[in-house]
Each structure stands twice: as C-alpha cells, then as structure tokens.
Amino acid sequence: MLEKALVGSKRYFQLLGFLAALMIIGGSMYLWQLTFGLGITGMSRDVSWGFYVAQFTYLVGVAASAVMVVLPYYLHNYKAFGRIAILGEFLAVAAVTMCILFIVVDLGRPDRILNVLKYPTPNSVLFWDMVVLNGYLFLNLLCGWVVMEAERNQVAPPKWIKPFIYLAIPWAPSIHTVTAFLYAGLPGRGYWLTAIMAPRFLSSAFASGPALLILLCLLVRRYTNFDPGKEQIQTLAKIVAYAIIINVFFFFCEVFTVFYSQIPEHTQHFYYLFKGIGPYAKLVPFMWVSIIGMIAATLALVFPQVRQNEKTLALACGLVVLTTWIDKGLGLITGGFVPNPFDRITEYWPTGPEALITLGVWATGFFILTILYKIAVSIKEEIRA
C-alpha cells in the first residue's frame, strides 16, 4: 500500500516539499543544540521544562482522542465512523511520533535514551509513559494498517486483529492519564498538584483532537475525491461540544478549589498566568485569549445551527484547537514552574532556535500525516472507483 504515497498530484508533492524544508531547518537547529547543549533554548534552572515538553503534552491528547472515533465504531457498532476510523488512527500515529520526538529533543543526553530500557524503573512515571506511548504507536499502526488492507481487498478484517482493537480503546485514555501523572504527583508544584489534572487532560484532549480531525476531514473533502461524510463530521462536532463543555467545567472546579481555599502555593501560579506578578506577566494575554476563546467556542458549539453550518463549525473547531493549545502547549508547563517553590520568579519564553526545532518536529508529524492520509484516501478512492 505504501506505493500509493509515491504517486500524487503536484500539490501533494509541494506540501511534502514545504514540510521537508521546515524539517531541514528544524534539523539543522537541532544539530546546533546537540553541539552546544540545551542552553540554546529559553529554559533555565528554575523553568527546567519548556516548549518541547508542553508540545509533547498537547500532542499526547491529540493522539489519545483517536479513541473518540474508534470507540463508537467498534464498541457501539456506529457504522458511520467506519469511514473515518482510519483517519483518526493515522492522526494518532502522527501525533505519537511527534510526542516521542519532542521527548528526544528535550533530553540533555539523547545518546543515552536507551538507559530507560536498560535500567527499567517502574517507580518513575516517565518509564510508564515510554511504555504506553510506544505501545499506543504500535497498536494504532497495526490496527489501522490491517483494517485498511482488508478494506482494500474488500474482505472482512482478520479475526486476530479484534483483540488489538479492543486493547487500543482503554490504551488511549491511559496515555493521557499517565502523561498527567507526570506532573500531578510532584510535591513542590502547587499548580500541577491536583487530582483533576488527568480528567482535565482527557476532556481537553477529547475536544481538541476531534476538532482537529474535523478540520482535517474538511481539508480531505476539499482537496481529494474522498468525502469523510456529513454525518461523520456532525457526530464529531457533538463530541467536541460535550468535551469542551466538560473541559471548561473542570477548569472552574480547579479555580474554585484554588481560590476558595486561598492556599498561596496553589493561587500564586494562577495569579502569574492570569494577572501577572509585578512586572512578570508574559503569559497573561495568552491565558485570557485561551479562557475567553474557550468559553466562546463552547457557547457557539452548543447551538445546532453553528455546528450544522460547516463554515461556522470550522471556525469554532479552530478556536478549540487554538485555545486548548495555549492552555496546554504554553501555560501548563511554564505556569507550574513560575513562581518557583521559593517564591522567586524567572520567566520563560522560547528562543528562536527552540521555536524552529519545535516547528521542525510539528512538520515531521504533518509529513507523516500527509503520507498516511494520502495512502488512506487513495485506497478509499480506489474502492469507490
């Protein structure tokens, strides 16, 4: 089936070329980082994780959200999603690949990465994150590929794949739960020390992932001869609507506990993010755009008219993707480190090289996504013909 990726329109190759150019720029910046050290980033002794780990966190959510397509199809026999299950799974493959790359570029000694396997340490959440992420990548590649091949040959998928498909369903929330546990169990970090972190992660994931999938479906419909389907997009839109409502609700649960209890270790991070502490207020405008935009998207998606009009739906989905990205990809990690556990403030902002490496990893993910979607769409077109 890979041969489908080797032929295509001029536009297909232009897109791949553009992404490859970004990958080369990011790659060369990464070579610089390898020679000099992580000092070329904006990270510091106080803010020791930055943009890379934040993107990783956001993308684990996107990856996990594939379950929102797979689960209705396989567990509830919701046939309509059979048409787009492969798009969800391949989005997960691309997202997990980016997650793994973001972890690698964040390491001070990437050459020693296999130490995690050589000295397995079950008490470290990072060890489990490695296990669940690689497992999830494998499961999605396997299930997606085998089911697609069966579809191409117009036969039923082999029976042995069923257990893997069923395993992939609980595996999806597990990757984002484990990722939340990376942060939610650290004693000195009040912003992250909250039992609702994993639920919040899942709700924002199940909003942002399907929202991104809707946008991708609309693109696929526009630029190929395969239509993912109106009903499919509408059902995804309902999923996004419910998930973003729950996400906003969870956010206010957090805000209530933090501000009614008035415990400084917990409030100070919210003050930093939403009000600024003294002259330190770099993230304030972003956080307000995030929360106001998220509420606006929630209100919009509640109305059936907004969802049914695909133009307004696309706008609302774009807003969901952007606002959840600011929340996780910008605020979450920095907000947990500022102020530090001793009430001192070092602000963080990614440097140029750091942003380009980040862009390079995103481009790599979309390069993989483009190829996988090209294969999937070509096969769907072939069957129809």
Partner: protein, 271 residues
C-alpha cells in the same frame, strides 16, 4: 572429572536467572549477597544515617561564602556569574541567571522557608542568609521520578547522582521541592576558574547536585563545607545517640525546609 548433570543444570539455571533478571533476580534467591561486596575502605567515615545541622547562630554571611567557595571549588562547580576563563566565550546577564549552577547557596528566611515568614518577625531573621543544599531526603521525590535510577538513595541516606547514567530529562528538577538540582545547559568547563584535578568535571546535558561529599567521606574527611564552617555546620550519624548532631537536635529547637511535603529532609537548622 568435570561436573555431573545435576551440577550443570544448577549452574545453567542460575546463569539464566542472572541473564534474564540481572541483579534483581539474584536478589530474590540470595538476598543481600550482591550488595555485600560494596564495603567501605578502612579509614572511611561511615554512618547508618548521615544528617547535617546548620547552626545559624554561628553562621555569618562571610562564613557562608567560604563554605560555598570550599564546596564549589572542590567539586568543579562552574561560576556562571564570573567572567568566563576562556575569553572567546561570552555570556549575557540573562544567561548568567538561567544557567546558574549551585550545590550550596544562600537565601533569605522568606525564600528558604516560604510560608513561614511574617511581617513582624524577629529582626535578625530578616538579615539572615540561610545556607541551602540538597536535603538528602529519607523519601526523595527526585529518586522516585528518575527513569534510569541515575539518582538513587544509598543505605546511609546520601542521595547519589550517577552523571554517567543521567539522560538529562530533568524530571528530578521538577520533582525536587528544594531547588537543589542544577542542569548543565552548556559545557561548564570554561566557567571553572580553578580546576580541581582530583574531582571530575561534568559534560553538558546532565543534572548535578550536592552529594554530602561522599568522595571525602570515603577518604575519612568531613564534607568540604563542614570543614570550612568553623563549627557552624555539624555533620554526623543520626542513628548514633552520642553523635554531635543528635546532641544538637536533643538540646536545640531545629527547623527543616518544607517538612510537610513528606520528604523527611535531613538538613536541620538552628535559628
């Protein structure tokens, strides 16, 4: 001659066990025996549980500076704030702050013990600069989170760091509630004013921290800061009722940093 079948099977079985499960499997069958080979050399200072008491009644700012100097020069800790040794290397003020490396440092009461300060404290508390370092916790979060066991707790309580195994994920830095850990954001060597040839320097990309001078203890010497402190820092075995640390803890009121987090820190402060 040679070995009989039973003997062969026994050896084969045991070697398979070693091969499959490594030391962990060995520990299951012969508990404690693998560790028994790690014994201290004669003349080394040993304890069942090392602990430190910093007596702030005796600690002055200049004395603290001497302790820091003794520690940092003994362990080749780079001083990012000083002009680089290599004139080719340049560093901005922002980078000086971001790339700070410290094993031992000072901070005021409100930042050393946040949440315990009050507006109208005893005056001398406002001026006091507390000497801060790794607390060598009984229940260290850094050890809990490390994915490679590059940081681990020794039976005598020292939280160790294997800089040859560290992958530089910096999870320990997020885990440590005391800010005791520094990451080598760049090659530290141009910032080491005077190289101590008897102690290793580090490479970029790994995390480091105070190790209670385990290399000096092994040679029968007290930690460098203790030696430089003129009696203001006391170091000893917490399990020995006759030790100086126990005597101080018994007779003086001491506080610890963030004990409410359950880490059980083993650096105590007499105010």
């Amino acid at each position: 001659m040679g070995i009989n079948r039973r003997e062969f099977l026994r050896i084969a079985g045991l070697s398979t066990l070693m091969g499959l499960g490594g030391k962990a499997a060995w520990e299951l069958v012969f508990p404690g025996q693998a560790l028994a080979q790690y014994t201290s050399k004669p003349g080394a200072l040993v304890a069942k549980r090392w602990a430190m008491v910093v007596d702030m009644r005796k600690m002055t700012e200049s004395l603290a500076a001497k302790c820091i100097e003794a520690c940092h020069s003994a362990h080749n800790v780079p001083n990012m704030a000083a002009p680089p040794v290599d004139p080719q290397v340049t560093i901005s003020d922002n980078q000086k702050n971001r790339w700070q490396m410290k094993w031992l440092w000072t901070d005021s009461f409100e930042h050393a013990f946040p949440g315990q300060e009050q507006e109208h404290m005893q005056e001398r508390l406002h001026k006091m600069q507390f000497l801060l370092l790794c607390n060598h916790c009984e229940n260290p979060p850094c050890v809990r989170v490390c994915p490679t066991k590059a940081t681990f707790r020794r039976p005598d309580g020292i939280v160790m760091m294997d800089m040859h195994r560290c992958i530089g994920c910096r999870y320990c830095m997020a885990g440590c509630p005391y800010g005791a850990r520094s990451f080598n954001w760049r090659d530290p060597r141009p910032f080491i004013a005077k190289l101590n040839e008897t102690y290793p320097t580090r490479e970029k990309g790994v995390v480091e921290k105070c190790l209670f001078c385990e290399e000096r203890l092994a040679k029968g010497q007290m930690p460098a800061c203790v030696e430089a402190s003129q009696g203001a820092i006391v170091f000893g075995d917490l399990t020995d009722p006759k030790s100086k640390v126990r005597e101080l803890l018994r007779t003086q009121y001491t506080i610890r940093r963030k004990p409410q987090l359950g880490t059980n820190p083993h650096v105590f402060y007499i105010i």
